[in-house]
């Protein structure tokens, strides 16, 4: 894991969707689904992206994968800017990055058997040199994801939800990618099956040296599987740090609220359920200044006027907030970008 060369980085990445609003649709508005995200993903890590529905986590994943065009910013894969690449020049990168979607029934072709779902991309990307090698690699893959080669001649509808997600994982791995975006891979599964799939993903990562981005709304899944975690709200990253820091020492008021809302499967640890009031604002009308201020219990006038700085509050723990909330109540301590001594040694935007 070399600090110097991240596998993938995004710089100020944005994806705005134009929509019509107002009277007779005269107004032109934008849904700012992703609104300036800067992150870098290290080789071999599992990077978690959490947030509530509509926070832009799936759009971020799709934009990264070049499944949808970015409206601004850059995507660097192994140092190469792939933001504007097309056709033949993009194809080698397509092979290296793959995605597993939430609903495997929607992402697998219902009229294609599993063998051809696995071998077709292999041939297309010249991962194997012949049809027979493709077939034997498909058999190897299907065993790797815990199914057996008999399953290759079956169709997606013949599988249960968990098996289908195993097939979707095998299909993603068919082109020997080095980077996989997992978009809510276990959300449609039962909890006993979810545990099987999460373990499978971990084993595959260790065996094949994969780098993952895990997009999830389930904080417990993220805590159990990710090395680092970013918390998103309305298209921006509010906080990034190693997972244990996010969960043990959250610094952003949103992260705190999110964590305190998660019920714990232990009746002896019932909580007062600290409740975050209200709903997420409309993404066409994102609040000025800090976008979380409308629901933040610590918000001040400054939060409404000034865009919050990105602060490295402790080593490699970044927060986009005006204040150190752990000091609120004692004395209000404002944060500035130079908060942490080591911050200056990092290149700008290296989050």
């Amino acid at each position: 894991m070399s600090e110097a060369s991240p596998l993938l980085s995004m710089e100020n990445l944005a994806k705005w969707f134009p929509v019509r609003g107002g009277f007779f649709g005269r107004e032109k508005l934008h849904v700012k689904a992703v609104d300036g995200v800067t992150l870098s993903i290290r080789r071999g890590e599992t990077f978690g992206i959490v947030g509530e529905s509509g926070c832009g986590k799936t759009t971020l994943g799709r934009t990264l994968m070049r499944l949808t065009e970015a409206s601004g910013g850059h995507i660097l894969f192994e140092g190469a800017d792939i933001t504007g690449l097309r056709g033949r020049r993009l194809k080698p990168f397509r092979r290296k990055m793959q995605m597993v979607f939430q609903d495997p029934y929607a992402s697998l072709d219902p009229r294609q058997n599993i063998r051809s779902a696995l071998t077709e991309p292999m041939m297309l990307h010249h991962v194997v040199s012949s049809k027979s090698l493709a077939n034997s690699f498909a058999a190897e893959l299907i065993e790797k994801v815990g199914l057996n080669p008999d399953h290759l001649s079956r169709f997606p509808h013949e599988f249960s939800g968990g098996q289908r997600q195993r097939v979707a994982i095998a299909a993603a791995l068919a082109v020997k990618p080095i980077f996989v975006v997992l978009d809510e891979p276990t959300s449609s599964l039962d909890v006993s099956v979810q545990a099987q799939i999460l373990r499978l993903l971990k084993n595959l990562q260790n065996e094949l040296g994969l780098t993952y981005i895990l997009i999830s709304h389930n904080l417990a899944v993220v805590r159990q599987t990710c090395d680092r975690t970013a918390v998103m709200y309305l298209g921006r990253v509010m906080e990034v740090a190693e997972t244990h820091r996010i969960f043990e020492n959250p610094k952003h008021p949103y992260t705190k609220a999110l964590l305190s809302a998660v019920p714990i499967p232990d009746p002896t640890k019932r909580k007062s359920l600290h409740v975050l009031e209200g709903d997420v604002p409309k993404p066409t009308a994102i609040p000025e200044g800090c976008r979380f201020r409308t629901r933040c219990e610590f918000a001040t006038a400054k939060c409404g006027s000034d865009f919050p700085p990105l602060v490295e509050i402790e080593p490699r723990h970044f927060v986009e907030c005006h204040y150190d909330i752990d000091f609120i109540g004692k004395e209000r301590r404002e944060l500035s970008p130079a908060q942490f001594q080591g911050a200056s040694t990092l290149p700008p935007g290296h989050v």
């Binding site: 509530e52 529905s53 249960s160 006993s192 545990a195 709304h217 899944v221 019932r270």
Partner: protein, 371 residues
């Protein structure tokens, strides 16, 4: 078996099948369940285990292709199975209310929230008249100042209460006021505004509150809440869970909370019933179930739940295999093909539901019942 004192619901040996093109789906295979007055019973299990079918049977809402083969559902002493359609309507109006996972499907999109709720009230004036009047009288009395028009209204309502009749105008006005007060009780912001809004104008969390309000307006003795927080974001889920917890102390109703999420169960329930493939396999107090699970399925389920409060342990393997096809369910104990502790008797004998400790029931041959 009938409901004993202190029980609002008793389901015994309930067996329900569905006729489908693929064959007969044996959805419930002898469900045993009881709900005590004033408690929150959690009904937990994975998809297809029969938790929703159990609730539908209790509310008399089973679809036409369902066949009740056996068993009884006693709701406050009355047998629900085999009841006439009209009696079932009365039961659903007065005694049991169901709240569903997806409120958008169960709210009428072309009626405002308020009119959908007042409709419930105005279809049964005989049931609601005295309740509406008492509500308004209570409000006036709480207001203190009994003077002028208020005093006049109070006197008028008192006579109306004695006669048991209200003018149409007064009835509609009081129904609206009562509805708004119920909307306020589920913490909907600006309830008088929500009264006039249509379902599409509400957010997911607000819609779910509107559904809960719709259930509460009837003052049911039993609320069946089917996966009501599943479609919600975690912060909104916390709002709804908090609401349920507050309501539990305010209203005099029992709640059956159906969910696949053990964390929600731990947060809210008094007792828990764990279902698997059409059976209740374990039932105990919530503390007992989480600290001393007995059934191998319960153990596997608890070990599978990822936790947000402890650092990453090696994730457990879950439970091997997947949920069986209920057209051809496994013989004997339906869990035996996935059970790490299965032995030779398990495929042969259906384990009885036995009380192994006071209030702790389990259906597993490891704890007895081997012939």
């Amino acid at each position: 078996m009938s409901t004993t004192k202190g029980e609002i619901l008793r389901v015994s040996n309930l067996r329900v099948s569905f006729n489908t093109y693929a064959g007969e789906v044996k959805a419930l295979d002898g469900v045993e369940l009881s709900v005590k007055k004033g408690e929150v019973l959690g009904l937990v299990g994975e998809s297809g285990c029969g938790k929703s079918v159990t609730a539908l049977a209790v509310a008399g809402l089973l679809p036409p292709n369902a066949i009740v083969l056996n068993g009884s559902v006693q709701l406050d002493g009355k047998e629900v199975l085999g009841m006439s359609k009209k009696d079932l309507q009365t039961i659903r109006l007065e005694e049991v209310a169901m709240v569903f996972q997806d409120p958008m499907t169960f709210l009428n999109p072309v009626l405002s929230v308020g009119s959908q709720i007042t409709e419930i009230i105005s279809t049964r004036p005989e049931l609601f008249t005295s309740r509406l009047i008492n509500h308004r009288i209570g409000e006036i009395e709480r207001g203190g100042a009994k003077s002028g028009p208020m005093e006049e209204e109070w006197a008028r309502l008192q006579t109306a209460l004695q006669r048991g009749k209200l003018s149409k105008k007064d009835f509609d006005r009081l129904a609206k006021e009562y509805t708004i007060s119920v909307l306020a009780s589920v913490n909907l912001p600006e309830p008088d505004k929500v009264f006039r809004m249509y379902p599409f104008e509400l957010s997911g969390g607000m819609r779910q509150r509107a559904m809960i309000a719709m259930a509460l307006v009837r003052r049911p003795k039993l609320i069946l809440a089917d996966e009501i927080t599943t479609a919600l974001d975690v912060t909104v889920q916390a709002q709804v869970l908090k609401l349920l917890r507050d309501l539990k102390t305010e209203i005099d109703a029992s709640i059956v909370l159906i969910t696949h999420d053990l964390a929600v169960i731990a947060e809210l329930c008094d007792r828990v019933a764990v279902m698997y493939a059409g059976n209740v396999v374990e039932l105990a107090d919530v503390g007992e179930l989480f600290s001393n699970p007995l059934h191998p399925y319960t153990k596997g389920l608890l070990a599978s739940v990822p936790r947000v409060d402890v650092p990453s342990a090696s994730p457990d393997a879950g439970i091997a295999g997947s949920v069986p096809d209920l057209i051809r369910p496994p013989s004997g104990c339906r869990f035996h093909p996935r059970c790490p502790k299965a032995f030779d008797k398990c495929p042969q004998v259906k384990p009885p539901f036995i009380e192994v400790a006071p209030g702790h029931f389990v259906a597993c041959l490891l704890y007895g019942g081997v012939p």
